[in-house]
Symmetry: C2
Subunit: 211 residues, 2 copies
Amino acid sequence: MPIQIILFDDNKHIRESLAMLFLSDNDFHLCGAYENAESAEDLIAITKPDVVLMDIDMPGKNGIDAVADIHKRFPDLPIIMLTVFDDADRVFTSLRNGALGYMLKSSSPEKLLEAIKDVYSGGAPMSPSIARKVMFRLQTESPGKPEDYQLTAREKDVLALLVDGLSYKMIADKLDIGFETVRSHIKKIYEKLHVQTMTEAVSKTLRERLL
Amino acid sequence: MPIQIILFDDNKHIRESLAMLFLSDNDFHLCGAYENAESAEDLIAITKPDVVLMDIDMPGKNGIDAVADIHKRFPDLPIIMLTVFDDADRVFTSLRNGALGYMLKSSSPEKLLEAIKDVYSGGAPMSPSIARKVMFRLQTESPGKPEDYQLTAREKDVLALLVDGLSYKMIADKLDIGFETVRSHIKKIYEKLHVQTMTEAVSKTLRERLL
DNA sequence: AGTTTTCTCACCCTAATTGGGGATGCGATA
DNA sequence: TATCGCATCCCCAATTAGGGTGAGAAAACT
């Protein structure tokens, strides 16, 4: 049986050309095409599509908010965003809101059909240029190779507890060592991390994902 | 001119079939195929490829470490990882280490050629099943909506500087307010965040991505 | 094997910073 | 008017930072 598709796009031309596209291929069936996502949730509840195609900018309720609502109510329903611009921020917001795929409108009809099949069978299709942005964010948000400050195992223990917000005394208790010993370790840690206060140490540790 | 490709894969069969693939297409030229990545950096320096194909598991130096080294020395050289399993952790480590694309060996030769073209022209090709994992991580690692502790603008200013490791006095200077004022703000912040020390505040702020 | 370095632990003293209580004034906003 | 944000000040106790010293054990060098 064909994959049931619902489409939200304010551009009449796009709606019609996609309708033609799906008509010409028996693997797909367009069960609805709407110019806004205002009552998207109800329409989905009625037509029960397998895949949602959602334009990112639409008058009224925009695609990004619509995705959030749809995803909340139908968590397993795959949603593919359609866009003309590969604006990094909106890509991200959409993805975080629950969209699975992200296709540029400029990509070929074949690619779109392929993307729908992908998303229907558990993949997450993205235009390569979009994937690149996603990855860039991923790389900068998780700064891979942490610099190695050569902390000893014990120092890492202490630092971990420090980061958890414990005081010297509490750390001493937890590690079953003396208060002054904790201090010695912390002095060494500061030296190695090139910091001089607890907050700097905690901040550096979390930001650079040490430990 | 054809895209110059260098390949690292310990499986002789794969090396040979890819060699055949590139021979049959004039858009590509395999300028080297090696069974390990031990001296990858030097080989790259000599053969000057446009794209690197790197198997993820190899005896000796594994592909993940190799990527890190190659990316460090040739930051603009695109690297595509090849793998049989779409193991989420290794995907991520590779991506963080600088790989741009990530293809399953099970994908078709056409897809691989396409991926090479994509990466060469600035995209980031990924198998949809891999992209899904990437997105999943992205969604769970950036925990959408942070709890709102109702901090005032001024309190956020203070908290930001606190997180940067500044002392009360330094914050006072920077914000051009009195030392005691900083203290009162911080007291309020602690109250709102339900913490009682600087480290707890910093830790909570960074971990929950407040600000 | 012998020496040196490193890690862990512990203690001292002093100065600076921080945290928990207050209280007060002023302007904006509700 | 009453609350809220923002700014300022006070005191006091606790915590933290910087400067040392030193001992015992394990790891690394020679």
